[in-house]
Homo-oligomer: 209 residues x 4
Amino acid sequence: MAEVGARKKLRQRRGADHARDVILDAAASVFAQKGYYGTTMEDVAVASGYSPAAIYKYFKNKDDLFSRLWNTMADRLQEIFDESTRLPMPFAMRLRWMVTRASQLLETSPNLLVAFIAQRPYAARARSNLEKQALRHYRSHQARIIELMESGIAEGVLREGGAADYALLLIGLLYEFAHRWVSEDGQIDVRQSVDRIIELFLRGAGHGS
Amino acid sequence: MAEVGARKKLRQRRGADHARDVILDAAASVFAQKGYYGTTMEDVAVASGYSPAAIYKYFKNKDDLFSRLWNTMADRLQEIFDESTRLPMPFAMRLRWMVTRASQLLETSPNLLVAFIAQRPYAARARSNLEKQALRHYRSHQARIIELMESGIAEGVLREGGAADYALLLIGLLYEFAHRWVSEDGQIDVRQSVDRIIELFLRGAGHGS
Amino acid sequence: MAEVGARKKLRQRRGADHARDVILDAAASVFAQKGYYGTTMEDVAVASGYSPAAIYKYFKNKDDLFSRLWNTMADRLQEIFDESTRLPMPFAMRLRWMVTRASQLLETSPNLLVAFIAQRPYAARARSNLEKQALRHYRSHQARIIELMESGIAEGVLREGGAADYALLLIGLLYEFAHRWVSEDGQIDVRQSVDRIIELFLRGAGHGS
Amino acid sequence: MAEVGARKKLRQRRGADHARDVILDAAASVFAQKGYYGTTMEDVAVASGYSPAAIYKYFKNKDDLFSRLWNTMADRLQEIFDESTRLPMPFAMRLRWMVTRASQLLETSPNLLVAFIAQRPYAARARSNLEKQALRHYRSHQARIIELMESGIAEGVLREGGAADYALLLIGLLYEFAHRWVSEDGQIDVRQSVDRIIELFLRGAGHGS
DNA sequence: AATGAATGAGTGTTCATTCAT
DNA sequence: AATGAATGAACACTCATTCAT
């Protein structure tokens, strides 16, 4: 947004923490739009109002910058998934709680979440360290969700067999919903969608009878 | 004379077509492994056995090469989705046919499919022409699947309301399955999974009662 | 010498070997003038008439380019030192042969030799791999020269004791001569100097009596 | 009042001088270890305990900092060489005095000396101002040493002819000894080596007979 | 007296792309 | 039909240097 030439004006002493945050925000936005490889440090610099050199004062390198963002989101999700298996509530409520919390991330940190999601296809055939780290996180998420499903089966809310498949179903629904939410520019009502997602998850599309 | 010339031209044509195919195959494999940005024309050249310069005889540039691949997959999928609404069969069979055909792509062209999937997150906030084109394709796929869902509703197999949501559910399942298939290196049995996907789609995970 | 703008004209197809040699020559000259750190790849590019990118087609990186040059000279010297201990001649002749050959390098490859010499101080407290490799070479040279000295002692031409010191004396003379030769721009007659060096080495500056 | 002000100024002066010295010491150590180009102002800052910005309060820039160090050593050497021609003693004693004093610098300021030596190869083909200045110093040193040699000839201690060559011999010995001393990490006994250097200088390596 | 915060100007290196042969 | 040879335009990253506080 800001012109490169206008950079000088920003010589404000606002403190390192502030700079860190500003840069992270800007980076999240740019990474979400163009992906890791499509984003240049100059992009981040322009978006943040700092110079590329300044960014290196706060982050070791591009990888570091990206993976800090990525890990933030991975950790937030992990926390949600972890808690959803720990909460002392019946399965149905825990499920709803989890879906709600996860969906809210779309509203609070859409950029971060998109950057997170966009990285996933590359993780599948992990090559770089970044990708290997990502793969580990994705697997860890999956594991917790499977656990959640198992407790649902134990409680008799879910049918027997295939906890892994139920996890696949739920993750698919969540990712797909995120995709749609983004591609419709956040126009979809999240709260309402949570109900729909849960219903689809539990009853599927079939007529049931 | 003319005969010979024609024959030669034919041979050349064949040669040219052959080269084209070889390059496309090689490119699909490399793009799938390293993604668009991670792949260099040198990579494609080495994988295809041609020189980088030769590739430019057959494709305008890297974008062109990639988007031809991408479109190939997009078209194949489109065809499947189109046909699944046209086939003179009951919904249930058309659904199974569609899921089967789509899943088979994993076995016949996994590389192409991965490359196709990896592109999706960026399409959501389309910037470049490549991405805009992609977005159009994804939307077109979605439209057809919604149509399919509507016929399912009309036939009374699917519950009333929310064809778009059912599409979201099915697409989510398909993508997620593809993800898992790739990250487990194709070890999953596709045919068996088709049943599971359809069941999950129709009945969800819930106990039903 | 050549302007950057003039680069385009050089688009000649002269073969890879030719390019290699041209670049090596240019690099030797620039490294000799400005040292490893003071030399940029752009410097080498301009001096060679190629673009920086072209240089990377022939050499992996700056280190590679430099160490190839450096090793060439190190190996030539090693060869001279090695042979000076092997030749079936009396010590005096072998010594003369060695000093002659070494001195000639000044005339045939002054740039290379200067680049080689300039690197030595850094090798002393070797940090980088380049420097460690250099240190090994310098030590290996020294070892051979000490051997040569020992044979001189054995033949009774050199006084007893202190082969290592004699090596120090000779190496000091050679390096110092090279220094002077370079700083007087090659105006000194090499052949004549050989006699002088050998005399100084054998008799020192003292009056003797 | 004026008194107090003056005292404060003095203290500040002292503080400033102290800082200057601390920085110079730190810089000498770092330059000696990594060379001019290999050393960053950040390195100097860390080694000195000050911030990079602080260094600029005491020195105009990196070049200034380095050349002050360099000149310090150049001047100390110059002083030694100067005095060695002036001292009212016979040549042999003046020579010993000079070699002793010069060698002691290795023990008192090894870092400075290494930095000084490392600069020499580039001075030969002086380009920058730094190098031209250096060249002037080296030449001036040489001139004095030649003078010393001439007095040795005049006294009949050195053979006729070739004062310049004798200077080359002595300088070569001194530099080479410094090299060895550094590369053996200061393990060599300096006092003992002085005798050896003088003997080699006067008698060479030859058997004499 | 000292520094935290910031940047301009490079530096090595990569890569898509071109073109004469 | 194919490529060897070459480069312009970027890109990640570094570093000497400045300046308000």
